[in-house]
Symmetry: C2
Subunit: 312 residues, 2 copies
């Protein structure tokens, strides 16, 4: 069985993860299921916002703004401008095109449609072959604990621009949220699991914290590989390295492997090759920076090759 | 007491009425209360839309698109385009800037704020001196009865472009909606009531049908004058004349006066001067077409002069 015949599950957060998911979708199509972090989801202006789901949907649907790194290409901001004029809250920027997603989602959810079904419907409208699966359909919130307060994720990440020093990250699920049956089924039939190069603390840990996910991964016979989000000990984007520093963890691949604890292999960047022996599990060294769509596909191909090797 | 010292209540629908309300606001400022039809309000895409309120707010707030006749100036339509791409409903056009109002209103109402308070807050942010008062804070719907169906107002007016033949117009208020205390108070202290040149059937009748309004008008000692929405037997805009034909009513000023039944005076266009004697109440003949902002103020001034004459 070669890489492109595998049923693959990818665990994914926002931008960096979505880039790899894009490459995997190009190679695997319907054989790919992307389980996406919803710990960042929140209610804003009465709308339900699912930032990571939307980044994955827009990226795989070829609608993403590649330069800005979030939201839609060709976006305009007249809603925000008018909102400011009416003295509404403007700290979280919602583009005019992006709003269509939030309005449709909010209406669907309040009509009793699950986030999984809504996301599947939208992905299908956009011609996306992979399954994009929220980790849970229940309320589940990532909370950033600082020295003196507990911050809802978007307050920390967007409003305070990830400046506060992180002491701990917690997950809150008032209704005892569980993994969706679609996500558990995808893990159950997976030939391989890929942990995307997303922020381990803010994007992947929430997925692993959803009751049911970790047990399903432990029960799966599929090998699990992660792509290190670090390149030369730094994060390409976002506060991964900053948070590792704040938590007193060395910013290297060894820490990533230890943090997850269940990996069968690690894909790491050439810049980090010196760590290859120290990580203690099989590694695949390659270029992990995805500057172009071709490089996303190339990294996806490298991951599948690595999985082939582990499977053989 | 001259016109500009009067406490005036204006009963108002959308575009035509809002133009006169603009003129009145310029002359009267805080001495004007505009009681606005909410029978067209509806839920769409999970948002609460109040078309006539918004037209009055945008017009008095100098934000209206004067050429299109509805919505905001400098509007863009990227939300609608994206909505179509996600297979959302696009028959009711919501501009990107306009959406800010609907999102803020929907959130306020679901948090328990009344439509009256929300509208007052927005009007104040926009520096509008007049009070803009919804006729009711309760659900209250105008229903258009055709030969074979009952149509919610926006389905009739926007989706079917007012094409179906009207047999009857009904008003539905599932929770037994009543006039707001603010609207009743305004009528109670009014020195004069002006029925704007809005559609009598679709815009003014809903206001008169709200329990409490008609009784307050009957109890008020203030003279009530209407501005005929017809010019030469035709409506400037919208289906007033078409509906009068469908209901078997002659499209002239006599019909307007008979329809209301409680007027103390009628302001009519020069083109209709021939009807002046037949209407049976005092009339004021002037230009009623408001092509410019100056003409709005001029017609407002003519109305106040006429009221002065009736009051003296």
């Amino acid at each position: 069985m070669s890489g492109a015949d595998l049923n693959v599950v990818a665990l994914c957060g926002g931008v960096g993860g979505a880039k790899l998911a894009y490459g995997l979708n190009r190679l695997l199509g319907a054989k790919l299921a992307v389980i996406v972090n919803t710990g960042d989801d929140f209610e804003h202006l009465g709308l339900t916002i699912s930032p990571d789901i939307d980044t994955v949907v827009y990226t795989l649907g070829e609608l993403a703004d590649e330069e800005r790194g979030w939201g839609r290409a060709g976006e305009s901001w007249n809603f925000m401008e008018a909102l400011g004029g009416l003295k509404g809250e403007t700290w979280f920027r919602l583009g005019d095109r992006d709003l269509a997603m939030h309005v449709l989602r909010s209406r669907a959810l309040s009509a009793g449609v699950t986030l999984t079904d809504f996301t599947g419907r939208i992905a299908s409208h956009l011609g996306i072959e992979a399954s994009i699966l929220p980790m849970t359909d229940d309320p589940f919130a990532t909370i950033v604990v600082t020295a003196d307060q507990k911050l809802a994720f978007q307050r920390y990440f967007v409003e305070l621009q990830a400046r506060p020093e992180v002491r701990k990250i917690e997950f809150q699920s008032p209704s005892g949220g569980t993994a969706t049956s679609a996500a558990l089924r995808a893990i159950g039939v997976a030939d391989a699991v890929i942990v995307c190069p997303s922020n381990p603390y803010l994007s992947i840990d929430p997925i692993l914290a959803v009751p049911g996910i970790r047990a399903a991964l432990d029960a799966a016979k599929a090998p699990i590989v992660a792509i290190s989000p670090l390149v030369g000990g730094r994060a390409i984007k976002g506060p991964t390295a900053k948070i590792m520093n704040e938590l007193g963890v060395a910013t290297n691949c060894v820490s990533i492997v230890r943090h997850y604890g269940f990996l069968d292999g690690l894909v790491m960047d050439r810049e980090d090759q010196a760590d290859a022996d120290a990580v203690g599990i099989p590694v695949h060294v390659t270029n992990t920076i995805m500057r172009s769509k071709d490089e996303r596909v190339e990294l996806a191909r490298e991951c599948l090759r690595f999985l082939d090797r582990l499977n053989s």
